[in-house]
């Protein structure tokens, strides 16, 4: 039974109630720092119970250089979603759906921000157990001006929280590429909220919380090959399969309506990726510098690879191709950026570009799924390639762990474990969430609405009025 109106109202009310509870928690008396579920407290060196301005204690271990860079990185990664991804995706859809596509990125930014603050940061980064964090940071309770954590190292926890928030924002925003042009906006909001809490938070906890089981296993994922790339890629594939093809797919003309927007978006993604990869060093120094260099080399290598592959296979080097290639390279180097040397980065870029070109051009048509904007082909496949090659090309002198080329063959096995775990969990949970959302409010608009265009039917607007 679909009582859409009531349910969407309930969702809004629930969010509002949760937000109103926030001040109550923030102002409550400071006792122990255990969370509501009795989870162990986050390690804290200095904390403030009250949000009133109090000078930071003199004995903090905050490094100002690191903090300055991380503040900037947060800005760069936020820019990757708005407007980077919004433009990248927006230009690739038909003009009757551009606003809805942009809205997916924009609204996801807003929704994830609030949910991250309310509960998702706590679930991701408090110690909890090996599988999930606790509720110790519900409403960011206990996080003060000078708080630091295991993960935040020498930067304030607030900066680390915001930095990670931008990752949590872009991951579900990426998935929107797989259901573009044929989804209801309300379904996007519900899906994003549920996916963030039940898929993203656990996975990021496994990899990046010091208590996470994959982190303890020794998996190498510098900036989110599993957390962001494989996660969004697999979710994208499942979504494309569950939601079905666009009406008229393969028969009607569905060419990108404005590739200039796509190029603008790809460029913002490239530049922003320095915040994504070099920022994942959580420090400003040699490691960030190496990550930056690796990112640039891999991205350029992949763009050229795609360009030449398309030139020889299809006759012409398309602009969409070289932009896609650049993104593919950045995706592939993401898990490797702080672990490999520039030559490793070059090889990863070449491999990522080639693999994603194959996936977006041939695999999609072979299997027949409609992944509108190649989320799986670029992010899923690119992420897998990058993770595996991280296990191969990791250099101890750079990131502290040796890969197969230095004799540590076992690292590849650890990478495979992470990939398999994330793929299975992600696929199953995404499927369940989609089915639940479909059952309760429905995923797709009606055929007439889809034909008319989502901008008009979902948002009551036209992008281009002349």
């Amino acid at each position: 039974m679909r009582n859409l109106f009531l349910l969407n109202r309930l969702g809004i009310i629930a969010l509002a109630v949760l937000l109103m509870l926030a001040p109550m928690r923030a102002f409550s008396a400071e006792g122990t720092k255990t969370g509501a579920a009795g989870a162990p407290a986050v390690t804290v060196l200095a904390t403030q119970a009250s949000p009133q301005a109090v000078p930071a204690p003199a004995h903090t271990t905050i490094n100002h250089g690191d903090t300055a860079w991380m503040l900037m990185s947060t800005v760069l990664v936020l820019m990757m979603t708005i407007p980077g991804l919004a433009l990248f995706y927006g230009g690739m859809v038909r003009d009757k759906n551009v606003l809805s596509t942009v809205a997916h990125s924009f609204a996801t930014t807003c929704l994830v921000t609030l949910l991250w603050y309310i509960v998702a940061y706590s679930l991701s980064f408090t110690d909890g157990n090996a599988w999930i964090g606790g509720f110790g940071r519900l409403f960011l309770y206990g996080m003060g001006r000078a708080t630091v954590t295991h993960e935040s190292r020498a930067i304030p926890e607030s900066v680390y929280m915001s930095f990670q928030m931008t990752f949590a924002i872009i991951t579900p925003a990426l998935i929107s590429g797989s259901f573009a042009e044929r989804i209801k906006f309300s379904a996007v909001l519900w899906f994003t909220a549920l996916w963030l809490i039940f898929v993203y938070s656990p996975v990021v906890h496994w990899i990046w919380s010091t208590n996470g089981w994959l982190a303890k296993l020794g998996v190498l994922d510098f900036a989110g090959g599993t957390v962001v790339e494989v996660n969004s890629g697999v979710a994208g594939l499942v979504t494309a399969l569950v939601i079905g093809r666009r009406i008229g797919y393969k028969k009607e003309l569905m060419a990108p309506h404005n590739l200039v927007l796509t190029l603008l978006g790809a460029s913002l993604l490239w530049v922003g990726w320095f915040g994504f990869n070099a920022g994942s060093a959580v420090s400003s120094g040699g490691l960030a510098g190496m990550a930056m260099a690796n990112t640039q080399i891999a991205t350029a290598a992949a763009a050229m690879t795609w360009m030449f592959a398309e030139w020889s296979a299809r006759g012409k080097p398309s602009v969409l191709g070289m932009a896609s290639g650049a993104v593919a390279g950045a995706v592939a180097i993401t898990p490797a950026s702080g672990f490999v040397d520039p030559t490793g980065a070059l090889i990863i870029g070449l491999a990522g570009g080639a693999a994603c070109f194959w996936a977006a051009t041939y695999l999609k048509n072979m299997i027949g799924y409609d992944d509108s904007l190649d989320v799986f082909g670029v992010h899923g496949i690119g992420g897998v390639v990058g993770l595996l090659l991280t296990g191969v090309f990791a250099v101890k002198a750079i990131g502290g762990t040796a890969g197969a080329i230095e004799g540590n063959i076992g690292q590849i096995g650890k990478q495979v474990t992470a990939i398999v775990a994330v793929v299975i969990y992600d696929a199953v949970m995404t499927y369940v969430i989609l089915k639940v959302v479909d059952l309760v409010i429905g995923l797709r608009p009606s055929e007439e609405q889809e034909r008319e265009g989502l901008d008009l039917t979902q948002h009551g607007e036209r992008a281009y009025n002349e």
Binding site: K250, L253, M254, P256, L320, A360, T361, K364, D374
Partner: protein, 112 residues
Amino acid sequence: MKLVIAIIKPFKLDDVRDALSEIGVQGLTVTEVKGFGRQKGHTELYRGAEYVVNFLPKVKLEVAIESELLDKVIEAITRSARMGKIGDGKIFVLDLEQAIRIRTGETGQNAL
């Protein structure tokens, strides 16, 4: 009176307009259209998706003239729009029943 409709290649518009001015045609209406005849389309490629685009951009001219001018107009359009290649276009001639100038209310040839 006649209504002459000509479908021509877009970049030939200025040449045709100049040729018609020379023979005394005062006004015309231009629309951007898509079409195909014997000229084939092209293939566009976006990642894995290949589209065969049959429609080509063309320009449609409509000119209302006195019947006496018809042969001259046809000759002027043909001469200026021709390139000798497939896709040059076509001219259609219709009988025009009535013409009215909105500002003054004049009818017939006085309205052209």
